[in-house]
Amino acid sequence: MENNAHYMLPSRDACYVDPGEMPKFLRSKNMPNRHGVKRMMQEGFMIRQSYIESGKIVIPAGGLIYFENGGEYFGPLNSEPVSIAGEEAVWIEQEEAMVVKKDFFVPFDDRPVPLGEDGTISLQPFFYTDSYFGEKAGFLRFVFANGHPGWEKRIVLCESEYGKYVANISTGYVDEEGMQTPPPIQYFGNPFDAHNSTYIVVENLGPKGFQVKEAGAPEVNWFKISYTPPIVVDCVGEGETVKAGEYRIKVISCHQESGIVTVAVLNTSGEILSQKELGPLTLETYKKKNFIHQNMAVRNSLVLDYENIRVQLDTKYNSILGGIGPTPLIDENGENISVTDAKGISTFQENGVGLVIYTDIEKVPLRRPWKKDSRFVFQTHYT
């Protein structure tokens, strides 16, 4: 278990290959998402902790790590482009979780302690000041499996009358250990703010390490991608069907006022396989939940999943507000308009609704052997 390269970086005498040497592989590319907004896509890899032993070169498990940077962060509802080892795909969904661990010791000068199974986000002591007028202060650091020391948390415990008594430390927030889905603290915003959804309750700290009562951090369980571009239909009226591979998608009812649509997946002979009420999707949805693609509950209310197919309301996108989130709308001339001015320009048309249909979806679990090549496992690049 410990004989792997997780949480480590390459050695200091590692060699560096510049993107200029292998431009087709390493230079960044621009790929558009469904709304035509371009995302930077970049690839590369790292070899870490390799060594020579008894006449052989060994790269430990996790030592060869390929990285890809695409549109993952910008969210599932926008059909963002990603690259899976050089093959272009569409990002569809990820299951977010919070990994929680209770009652453990984080020693100095040792391997970081993963909060879940090996390869999940881990904790490492970073700094400790000796008891100073009864105050103990220290830093704990979250380390990702890829070696990046992510975020630091400052811990202060006091034995004086001014501080928090060790005996009065709270018992924590989450009842159970392990992956919690949906996460008890949902995070919205950019990746730099992801540490706002982490927490640490430290019981005691000293020169040997930190005794942690409970700690939690965001994680991902699985993700879904498709190598087939999505089918975008601008307007499907009530009672109409759309062909999607071996299935038919039917709009059973559509209420523009309330923003609720009932869709069904049919087989070729017209039997209903699955049916769901999607929505509500109104301007209010965009207004209240700014980054709706980052809210698991909201995005689940806008999609119907059946086996390897997904039907989604054609959410809109505005690149003005930070370029993130399908917030307000683009009018017929292709110009951005603010939420308050946007009336009648939405997913709903006069006599129908816009749908996005993904086919041939693959669900890929993280930290498990890849079905297509069991020599490899998937990891997040930056949780």
Partner: protein, 110 residues
Amino acid sequence: MMVGLAIENAEPIVLDSNNNEFDGPRGLFKIVVDEFNGDTIPSWHIENKYEETSRELGGNNCKSLDAIVGRVGMFTFEDAIQQLIWTNPTRVNKIMQENHRLKKELEKRI
């Protein structure tokens, strides 16, 4: 929450002078050890599916295959790159430019 994906090897990779190649995921890249004498790796390089080849990465002091290939993201690679001693990007760029200049001069003289 996630900025990108990573794919890592599940089992250790063992290479020697007979078994000297390893294919990356989907054959996107390939690690090739050209020369290995049991203690050091005098010569190794990287190939990719676009038929590009890296420069010679080995050397008489090369005792591992540790490498940083490309610059993905702002975080992990920056941390790793900052602590490099010999081949940090500015030096590599300088060496590449110097090579380019020398080649041109050679061509002129010939």
